[in-house]
């Protein structure tokens, strides 16, 4: 009686278990077969002409699907060299022709682009101005960022000529049309498939896609700039940067983007790996809440700015470069001319003394009129480099008599918008449009949406206003430099370091170009050599 039911019970449970495992195995057999074939091909990556070459690349970010019109997914397409925009940025942040081979500005609100002859979509269809127009319209329609990124009033297409009329004079049109949201796709193809198989114009085309895991591509022979050298690539999504490093070490990956700084030391062997590191467009950005009486005096803010050693943070702690203004050195906005804050603790102490903050009770923290110089710093828990820098700032500021208390949050917005902070630190991409106007308007103008510190300088506002109507590119850059200097002199914000980005690849991989702008990772130049 007992043993019988006991036996049946065990049998049932065990068989359920076995069924589960079989079911799971059955499901994954399909995905294993693709990846194992990928792995086999990887063995052959030192191939000579004749054996197909294959590359495994780790992506640090993957969108929700592969349709460039949705959300930020276009960025994946440009990074994976699957899709292109009319114009793109090169490694020096200069605009270069891609699908459009020339352009000019007719008047304040009219722009003309000539679409290159000989560009074809992955399905062989020719790219005409009309195809471009329809693709841009589709992006605008499907994405809420469309209109604000590209304020289009109307577009006309004739043969290979595309004319765009904007709703107002918009000097940053060129930079914005390079946003991967406007990757050109063939609207005549079956667009419902675009989530897993977009038809674009890049050197590689999609052959397989597992959402949130990997993309398989093969080279597109009809690419307008000549077919790429690598035959197939598998892009794997590895979110965690130390895991990416591990995967590169174990050989599962040939190229890893953004290997964590803590793991870079593992790849120092130059015969095996190549490390390429440049400053990106990301800045560690600190707002001062000028409404706080402690921070309303510029001298206190300047003292804080002098009280931290940006060089040391960049060299020893988080990599990258010591920051001056809000725009990184990768951008041609006058980085060399601008004067920032070096580490000068004595100057800082003097400024604080003069402002009336003295440490009367000997506890190491200055006070004035009985109020201690204690400040609340909020930071974003998403960025590890921010946490490290904040801790370092805390201990250095203690050295000049300021007590910094820190709290990290996943999302700072509520605190920022309600003024519930003294210093707010996060990492911000300040060069995304390749043009200074948007950022200055968004963060620094009086009353700007993200000018949450309450900063106001009418002279700065005037300079920013000039940008709106200045179309000469060099002059724009000069205005940007001027604006940066004003911001720095007022010390209403602090910029700590410019975040580095890197690509680490096996030494057999060549041709990997490093782009400061996040849009791009691989291009047709990627090669797997001997």
């Amino acid at each position: 009686m007992n043993s019988r039911y006991g036996k049946t019970l065990t049998l049932t449970v065990l068989s359920l278990l076995v069924l589960c495992i079989i079911a799971a195995c059955g499901q994954t057999k399909t995905s294993t077969s693709t990846s194992s074939s990928g792995e086999k091909a990887a063995e052959a990556d030192k191939g000579s002409a004749g054996t197909p070459t294959h590359l495994n690349v780790a992506l640090f970010w993957l969108g929700s699907n592969l349709d460039p019109a949705e959300e930020w997914n276009g960025w994946t397409l440009t990074r994976a060299a699957i899709g292109e925009t009319l114009i793109q940025f090169d490694e020096n942040m200069k605009l270069v022709p891609k699908i459009a081979d020339s352009w000019d500005r007719i008047d304040d609100t009219t722009w003309h682009f000539h679409i290159r002859d000989g560009v074809t979509f992955h399905n062989g269809n020719k790219v005409t101005a009309d195809a471009v127009k329809k693709s841009i319209e589709r992006s605008m329609e499907l994405n809420e960022r469309g209109q604000s990124t590209l304020p289009v009033a109307s577009m006309t297409a004739e043969g290979q000529d595309l004319t765009i009329k904007t709703t107002e004079p918009y000097a940053s049109l060129l930079g914005n049309i390079a946003e991967p949201l406007f990757v050109i796709v063939d609207t005549n193809a079956d667009t419902s498939q675009f989530k897993s198989e977009p038809i674009a114009t890049g050197p590689f085309m999609v052959t397989g896609y597992t959402p949130d895991q990997e993309i398989q591509v093969k080279k597109y022979d009809g690419y307008w700039d000549g077919a790429a050298d690598v035959d197939t690539i598998t892009f794997k999504y590895i979110k965690d940067d130390s895991t990416r490093a591990l995967a590169l070490q174990s050989g599962e990956i040939d190229v890893a983007s953004n290997v964590g700084r803590s793991s870079l030391a593992l790849f120092q062997d130059q015969s095996q790996y190549t490390i390429d590191e440049i400053p990106s467009l990301r800045t560690q950005f600190v707002w001062f809440n000028t409404q706080n009486p402690l921070l309303s005096e510029p001298d206190v803010r300047r003292a804080i700015s002098y009280g931290i050693d940006r060089e040391m943070y960049a060299n020893t702690l988080v990599g990258g470069q010591a920051a001056k203004g809000p725009f990184t050195s990768a951008l041609p906005f006058g980085y060399d001319q601008v004067k920032g804050y070096d580490y000068e603790p004595e100057t800082a102490k003097k400024l604080l003394d003069e402002a009336g903050y003295k440490d009367a009770d000997g506890d190491g923290i200055r006070e004035k009129d009985g109020q201690k110089l204690t400040l609340q710093l909020i930071l974003n828990s998403a960025y590890e480099s921010d946490s490290i820098v904040a801790a370092a700032m805390q201990s250095q500021l203690k050295g000049i008599g300021i007590n910094l208390e820190m709290t990290s949050y996943e999302d700072l917005t509520d605190h920022q918008k309600s003024g519930n902070y003294d210093l707010a630190l996060t990492s911000i991409n300040t060069g995304i449009t390749g043009d200074p106007q948007y950022i200055l308007d968004f963060y620094f103008k009086t009353g700007a949406e993200w000018n949450i510190g309450g900063y106001s300088n009418p002279k700065l506002d005037a300079v920013i206003q000039q940008l709106h109507s200045e179309f000469d590119v060099e002059k724009r850059y000069e205005l940007a430099a001027e604006a940066q200097q004003m911001i720095l002199d007022d010390a209403a914000y602090m910029f700590i370091t410019y975040t580095p980005i890197n690509i680490v690849s096996k030494s057999s991989v060549q041709g990997a170009t490093m782009y400061p702008i996040d849009f791009y990772l691989l291009d047709r130049n990627i090669q797997v050599g001997q």
Binding site: G6, V13, E144, D240, L246, S250
Partner: protein, 312 residues
Amino acid sequence: MSRYIVKRFIQLAAVLFGISFLTFLLTYLSPGDPARLMLMSTGVTPSDELVQQVRVQLGLDQPFWIRYGTWLGQVVTGDLGTSYKYDRPVLDILLSRLPATLRLTGSALLLVILISFPLGILSAVYRNNALDYVIRLFSFAGLSMPSFWLGMLLMLIFGVQLKLLPVMGSSGWNSLILPACTLALPLIAQYIRQIRTVILEEMSQNYVTGARARGVKERVIMMQHILPNILLPIVTLMGMSTGALLGGAAIVESLFVWPGVGQMAVDAIFTRDYPLIQGYVIWMATIYVVLNLIVDLWTHLHDPRIRLDVDV
């Protein structure tokens, strides 16, 4: 009997309802705006206007009751909503991630059975022997170890130093070994002790003494009487553990980047992907409650002596 079953089903529904409500309430009260988080995923600060647009799109501007009611209505028809982040039906995502978790869980359970049974039996049979102490020490260690620490140590030793096993991904049997071991170890430790205790209890029963007196061999006693009798409590325990395991041991999956249901859940919480969180919680709760019910029913069915106190 059937009245009992009906009663249990009603309770099941009540518990599920309660859980879904609680989760919904929690996520509603939670700070953090999924719309903003979505828009900031590339490091570019969105304008307030844009954020508001997306919020409306996602239905986040509706009051609590309307949102809960809509969701409830959808769930009843089998539609678990659409994930904010992935823009795909939650059910699809859950189902696509399930095989990975099943593989992990199944392998871990297999390991647990294969290792803890023999060791538990040995420990009981050779009780208070050196072997027993060694096994008990080992199982104690296993219980006390933080699983994430163990996982990282295993990664370090087998993945990096010895380069024997891959440390991530889900392709092939190799990458299954480390996460399965990490997941299995605490359970093995727990089960060894349970099995040992239960066997010892059985062994002190009268019929065992009687059998011994009759001259029945020790091994026969073990195989034919003791083991079958302990199967029930052990299987009950396993049933409950399976529930927790199937939920996806979140930490292990996060550590090894195993594309299962647990990792999905942790991720969803950090990105405030409410529909996904809700879907996951309902799924977990349903499994737990249904498993409990099955085990209880089976027990009652085959051994009415065991009083199924509904309230306890």
